[in-house]
């Protein structure tokens, strides 16, 4: 019975996107992020590419696609920073995979789920970035600043809700 439910849910709610949306939305998120943070530096606390990666992962409900989408968005983001390429790629790959896996089992269209999901993934993203920096890159001087990361997660969640609603209009039911 659970497997039947699992299959039915996946078949019913799996969405796809047009290639233009698949390419342009992440690019737009990255460009907007860059422009906003240049315009007002406090916007650099936001992570619009992360929100987009989560949205595509939970909407497609395919862990593989979610992983690859997250990796691609993260790598492009890394290329614009001064850090080694792969830091954001790894973090968003993991988040894409988990988000897609959750999307199979949970109703991700409800507002409550979206709030919790975005907040949790934002915190997870911060934790993964901290671990990569500390363990893989050997940056021993960095510390986890919990208050700042909580504020960042909160800001991402607040921004993610309207962004999700906007991106819902680009969904194409299969």
């Amino acid at each position: 019975m659970p497997s039947l439910s699992y299959t039915s849910r996946r078949e019913l709610e799996e969405h796809s996107f047009s290639p233009a949306v698949t390419i342009l939305v992440p690019v737009a998120a990255i460009v907007l992020q860059v422009l906003l943070s240049k315009l007002f530096w406090r916007f650099s606390m936001l992570d619009l590419p992360l929100i987009v990666a989560i949205f595509f992962a939970v909407s497609r409900r395919s862990p593989t696609v979610g992983t690859l989408t997250g990796a691609a968005i993260g790598l492009v983001q890394d290329a614009l920073t001064g850090r080694p390429i792969g830091v954001n790629g790894m973090a968003k790959s993991v988040i894409g995979y988990i988000a897609a896996s959750i999307g199979i089992q949970v109703d991700v269209d409800s507002l409550t789920t979206r709030v919790i999901m975005n907040f949790a993934f934002s915190m997870l993203n911060s934790a993964i970035l901290f671990l990569i920096g500390r363990r893989l890159l050997g940056q021993t001087e960095i510390h986890m600043q919990w208050i700042q990361e909580l504020l960042r997660a909160l800001a991402n969640t607040v921004v993610a809700i309207p962004v999700f609603l906007l991106l819902d209009t680009t969904k194409r039911a299969e």
């Binding site: 943070s37 240049k38 690859l68 920073t81």
Partner: protein, 450 residues
């Protein structure tokens, strides 16, 4: 086997992606750093491709924003221009004075450096650029500017604003460059504390502040002290402003070091235009020399004007002192004239203003009394002193004091000089013309003096 892959396809994809990126990270971190190239070729290619795709969009939006701001500031928002112009003129005048004051010291310092053969790098050429984008995350503080390798920009060139340093070029693409700001955690610069002359290394931290962490506690280091570039890093020319010390606190992670937080001179969070230092030289540029010469000339003019003013003030003070003295000395008042009744003193002619006081007549005149000594011109060699007659130049209005032959008073009788007045001894040769030095002196201590 096929079922294994199909069953764990998702996990395997994730593992493969993570493994590939981990290997990529390891290669980037462990790769020996080449001079002037922060990334390997493949990484540079990837960055270059992404920047080439994103930069035109950034440039487009930046152009729109710039034109809107330009139009507003140049055509609409001109209300305060007059006031601003006036304040700028005042500032220029103030800066000219400052320049004049500093020019002499600067020239002297420059001459001394030349004498000591110091290698000093002065900024000679810069390229102005506009900031068109940022990294988009506060974990990496980099900016993008609209000038690149085609405009002569290279990796590790210093970037600054008129207020102070900003960072350095981390990557130069054909028409875009990536600037690593000094408040990035991976950034660093050699600095010098301006008053204590202590050298240190500056770096960024996680929160976007710039800090010095390699100094132990020192009571001489105080908040407010200026921090300049030391030039030791071979990137930032010596003497550029970095900022001022904001706070000093112990470093909990690395005792006994301190964390000295610096407030940057430039607002690193709101940069619009920057200057990339593309060339330095060991001597001053002709324009700077001309400015210094102008400043020195102005300093000399100011010094001459000051000297003239000082002289005038000293003269006025002297005149004032002479006037006070002339009013207070009783001897210079004629007859019964009160000081207040006196005519104003002609300060330009002090002899006319203050005539020589006349001596009071002596109560008991002797041979030392004024007028008692005959002038040298009246003396004859071998003549008796008592026989000499002359007219005293000094008036004796009330008492006609007896001359040298007069008997000495009672009190003076004990003195051998009084009983035996000396006579000038005639020289054996011809008489000399009279002079004050030849005037016969009384030799009261020589009783056998004829």
């Amino acid at each position: 086997m096929e079922s294994f892959f199909s069953r764990f396809k998702n996990v395997l994809v994730l593992v493969a992606v993570l493994l590939a990126q981990t290997i990529g990270l390891a290669i980037q971190v462990r790769r020996p750093v080449e001079v002037g190239a922060p990334d390997g070729k493949k990484v540079t290619l990837l960055r270059s491709s992404v920047v080439a795709a994103i930069a035109p969009i950034e440039r487009f939006f930046h152009g729109i924003g710039y034109n809107v701001r330009y139009g507003w500031s140049n055509y609409v928002d001109l209300r305060g221009t007059k006031q601003e112009n006036r304040s700028l003129k005042d500032e220029v005048a103030r800066l000219r004075l400052e320049q004049a004051q500093l020019a002499e010291d600067a020239l002297q310092g420059h001459r001394l450096q030349t004498l000591l053969n110091f290698q000093r790098n002065y900024v000679s050429t810069t390229v102005a650029a506009q900031v068109i984008g940022a990294s988009g995350t506060d974990r990496s503080r980099v900016l993008y500017i609209d000038k690149g390798a085609d405009e002569g920009l290279k990796v590790d060139q210093a970037v600054m604003t008129p207020d102070g340093i900003v960072g350095k070029i981390r990557a130069a693409f054909p028409h875009t460059s990536q600037i690593l700001l000094i408040n990035d955690p991976t950034s660093g610069a050699g600095v010098l504390l301006a008053s204590t002359r202590i050298r240190a290394i500056l770096r960024g931290n996680q929160t976007g502040h710039i800090v010095i962490t390699n100094l132990t506690p020192d009571s001489r280091i105080k908040p407010g002290e200026s921090v300049l570039t030391s030039g030791g890093d071979q990137i930032y020319p010596r003497g550029l402003s970095v900022g001022t010390i904001e706070s000093i606190a112990p470093d909990p992670d690395h005792q006994p070091y301190t964390i000295i937080q610096i407030k940057p001179s430039t607002n690193l969070f709101q940069l619009e235009e920057v200057l990339v230092i593309t060339g330095t030289r060991n001597d001053l540029s002709p324009l700077a020399k001309k400015d210094l010469a102008q400043g020195e000339a102005r300093a000399k003019e100011m010094a001459a004007a000051k000297a003239a003013a000082d002289e005038a003030a000293a003269e006025a003070a002297a005149q004032s002192a002479a006037q006070i003295i002339s009013e207070k000395l009783p001897s210079i008042h004629e007859g019964g004239e009160a000081p207040g009744d006196k005519a104003p003193v002609d300060l330009s002619n002090p002899t006319a203003a203050s005539p020589a006081p006349k001596p009071q007549p002596a109560l008991h005149p002797d041979r030392y009394s004024p007028g008692a000594t005959p002038p040298a011109s009246s003396l004859k060699p071998g003549a008796e002193h008592g026989a000499t007659e002359y007219v005293s130049p000094a008036p004796h209005p009330q008492r006609s004091a007896p001359q040298a032959q007069a008997p000495a008073s009672e009190g003076e009788g004990d003195s051998p000089a009084a009983s035996k007045p000396p006579a000038p001894k005639p020289p054996s040769t011809a008489p000399k013309p009279p002079s004050t030095q030849d005037k016969p002196k009384p030799r009261s201590t020589e009783p056998d003096n004829p």
